[in-house]
Symmetry: C2
Subunit: 565 residues, 2 copies
């Protein structure tokens, strides 16, 4: 009923996308004839010994590439797929690519989708995916075919349940579509299953709009491109609006958790007047006061030129990178963890109960915050007791602080303009949109490569598609051992292997391009509107890739041009 | 410098759009040969005598149509154009259509753009528009070529200044691009100029994303289509997100001032679980309590089916239509007008000073509101002392009230689900986006027809393009006297002629289509994602028009299909 209703309500563009076949790399055109070719053994960059100890059966495996051979024997495969964590546009195409590849291998292959994320593995709740099941979801946004969830498979009990499900379904492979945490989980499952003599191999697929699952092997996670395109369309519109009405400062908070990848990509796409990069502020040890001053300085400089409007981008994780606030959050997270008694104190006695327990520095930072933000910090917490970073209205906090700063400057005659801030949060709108052509093609290939890795019975690997800045035909494929991307962190007194979350690097070429131009963008409007995503027409538009993926700076403003203008 | 910077920073899609020639109705293909053909005299539907008295020179004029003739004499024309009020996508194409038509009439014609809205008329600040000026702005969003403004030309002094500017520039015509207020203003200017023996004719162009400038002559104002498409893209994405993560209720407030046209169009496009229509709530005399109950009932019904998520659309003007709140706003607006002493009382003594001055009913309504909303009502006011409707967080108000209601129901065992609301406001993002193909074509024609009306030296007319649900070639053009669209209202003890703001009519076919399906949408998800606007490819997608403009209900869900599904 649900699926029929979805089909019946599809808009013309959803139908058009559904009927479109994704482009694939040349090598995948003969997917039936591809055989795994193990290359060099691979190692993590750090903690090799610990990882070897933690993953005795799956650490130190080889890079897997594929060669075309003839007369490959085929047999039907049984594979499970799970969508884990927040949505990212393209998830359905991973399933489609996986399904089509399994069918190409053998028409009796079976694909089971686990329902509502990893919880579906624990409960063995599945949907058998057939052509009629996947068809309406080809090239569509959302994770609604299977649903998703944030359950983590961590305890011994959960690992046993998972093993039971694998055996019950007699799976040859399990494909885990997720971010850094879910892929860490996938590595643990791979080791566990292998140790138990279970035949099910585990393959990860790099998903997250946040762009923080990225390393020497993973050029970009899927969904990042679409989310940035959707946010950039809206930012470009706000810039045009600001430039036309000339009276508002738009403070735009962008989804993306800790890292500022989305903010950086959107900045390159839209040239706003200011973009705060959390990693840079942390590097410079900027305080909240420094940031407030920085924004106020720009407002004053623009006002002096008669420009009483602007657009400022703020990554949602910003607040974690401001040292005194970061420290405060850490202390609050410790104090307010669910098992701690302070949880109750805070709700029953208010913030005062905290005074005795916060460090002097953190208490000071806390006291300088507006009431609204204090309340959010104390009351909006996730089930683990952590402050929900996205819930903290950083954009409102900065608006309030800048307004106050400008009022003070007005008194001393340093500012005589007007300042009308408007806040925005672009988040949920970008997670489930129709995937861009880039994400549609990329995801379909990721699914196909995952199928190849399962077929070749390697475990603990990530499906990799690379050379993404080349035409799709020239994209390359391989499998990389998940443990290669890991390091080991001490958490709660235990060694914990994790896939490192990638932050924006201040010496990356995309940051450098941004850095080179941003002071110009502050005082001269160089607004750029990338417009809505296009699915047909000029490939330079419809097949564009994230600017932060391009090696070239050809799109950048060349200073000489400015001089001539 | 600003313009060069704009050109230099144009994205590929902005360039593509810039290079595209709009489609025009067949009749405009020989625009040089078109001559005005006055038809029947036209009258307003009401207040004919008053309008005759108020507009002795421009009331009761004829409908103007156009015939093709040969050997029309041509002479250069001098025309001014002003963009008035909030942006609407397509404004630049009105200017382009006007410019190209004037050039087609005579290459020595001149077009002056008044800067920053009607204030530019008072100060005689203009930009001479030439091919190189308009070229980068063809098919682009925003009003940034000229800027806009909300100054009204009303006083004797202002009318004199305007007359002076017309004479100084020796204008044959003035084209006023604006909403209901600005077009009312245009009618007054037309009468004033004619009375003064000034040759400048005045022509209005119907602009507003809100869709409330609409009547038997104006099928839709420009910008409405694009704004609704942008909002619908985002709403469709939120629906997909809600359906995938299954844990949030999205409360989406939509721009659009008093009327609920945008909310209704977006509802037809996206099939959300609930859409509040202000006009209907007013008709039913629904109280805030009724609306709260209505939403809570839906949350409970969905929860009983295991659906703990949803999407609810809220028009920004909603609060005006709720009787007790409407009355409260009226009283507050009277009490807090800038010239009134209460303004000061409120800021210095807080809300208590109001108690003695509000009616018992309004005081009661005020007291039931959450603090946040009370503060907004008292403090966020426009220069005329009016509560800024868009600033009132209606979506937050409803979220708070529904949450409270559900908590009470939980206590009595009527609700055992979860309710996680998330608020959104879609507004500024939709005012300045790249215009849809429909708005691009429509605006270009509106500009051309305005040029024709100026050339034919008729004054006090609106440029009209109609039969908009037919292919562009078959669109029809005419001029309608502005006074025909007016009625007369008593304001501050004076008779004031105004173009009536069109509200959603509860017997319109678009409301009926919505009404027929909405109860189904509440409990079965029929979400629909119209996706991002397309500028090339299948015309069924790229050239689509607002659903509320279509006579057909072919897009609607046919109940039989549901049964079969």
């Amino acid at each position: 009923m649900l699926h029929s209703s979805f089909e019946q309500n599809q808009s013309p563009i959803q139908k058009l996308r559904r009927e479109t076949t994704p482009k694939i790399p040349s090598i995948l055109k003969h997917i039936q004839s591809l055989q795994a070719h193990p290359k060099d053994k691979m190692h993590a960059n750090t903690h090799q010994d610990e990882l070897q100890r933690l993953f005795p059966l799956t650490y130190g495996q080889s890079l897997i590439e594929f060669d075309e051979v003839s007369n490959l024997p085929t047999k039907p495969l049984k594979v499970g797929v799970v969508l884990s964590g927040g949505q990212a546009p393209g998830g359905h195409n991973v399933i489609a690519g996986l399904y089509d590849a399994l069918q190409a291998f053998h028409e009796d292959s079976q694909l089971f989708g686990f329902l509502n994320g990893p919880a579906g593995i624990l409960k063995n709740q599945t949907l058998l995916i057939e052509e009629s099941t996947i068809d309406p979801y080809r090239n569509q946004g959302g994770f609604d075919l299977l649903g998703s969830g944030r359950t983590k498979i961590e305890t011994e009990e959960q690992l046993r349940e998972s093993l039971k499900t694998m055996n019950a379904l007699d799976l040859d492979g399990l494909v885990v579509v997720g971010g850094d945490d879910s892929n860490t989980n996938a590595a643990v499952l791979a080791e566990t299953f292998k140790k138990a003599g279970c035949k099910t191999v585990v393959i990860g697929v790099p998903k997250t709009i946040d762009g923080d699952l990225k390393n020497e092997h993973v050029e970009v996670s899927f969904g990042f491109d679409t989310a940035c395109k959707i946010y950039s369309e809206m930012i470009g519109n706000l810039e045009k609006d600001a430039l036309s009405s000339k009276k508002y400062y738009h403070f735009v908070k962008l989804m993306g958790r800790s890292a500022s990848h989305i903010a950086l990509e959107c900045a390159l796409q839209t040239h706003p007047n200011m973009t705060l990069i959390g990693e840079e502020l942390a590097h410079n040890k900027s305080t909240l006061k420094d940031i407030t001053k920085q924004i106020a300085d720009m407002v004053c400089a623009r006002s002096a030129k008669g420009l009483e409007y602007g657009v400022i981008l703020i990554p949602e994780g910003l607040i974690e990178f401001i040292p005194e606030i970061g420290q405060l959050l850490k202390e609050l997270n410790m104090l307010l963890a669910p098992e701690k008694p302070y949880q109750m104190h805070v709700t029953t006695q208010g913030a005062k109960a905290l005074n005795a327990h916060l460090s002097a520095k953190s208490l000071n930072a806390f006291e300088t915050l507006p009431e609204l933000i204090k309340n959010q910090m104390l009351l909006d917490r996730d089930p683990h007791g952590n402050v929900q970073v996205a819930m903290i209205a950083t954009e409102t906090l900065l608006m309030m602080l800048v307004k106050k700063e400008l009022e003070q400057r007005a008194v001393s005659g340093q500012f005589s303009g007007s300042f009308n801030p408007v806040s925005h949060y672009f988040g949920y709108e970008g997670r489930a949109g129709l995937p861009s052509l880039f994400d549609s093609n990329y995801c379909y290939s990721l699914g196909a490569v995952a199928a190849l890795l399962v077929k070749n019975q390697v475990t603990g690997y990530m499906s990799i598609v690379k050379k993404l800045n080349l035409p799709v035909e020239d994209w390359q494929i391989c499998g990389i051992p998940l443990t290669t991307m890991m390091n080991v962190e001490m958490r709660h007194g235990k060694l914990k292997p994790v896939i490192k979350k990638a932050l924006v690097e201040l010496d990356s070429s995309s940051f450098k391009v941004f850095e080179q131009q941003r002071s110009e963008w502050q005082v001269v409007d160089h607004y750029r509107s990338p417009g809505p995503m296009q699915f047909t027409g000029d490939p330079a538009i419809s097949e564009s890739i994230p600017l932060s993926l391009m090696e070239t700076t050809s799109y950048a403003i060349v200073p000489e041009q400015l001089v001539k203008a």
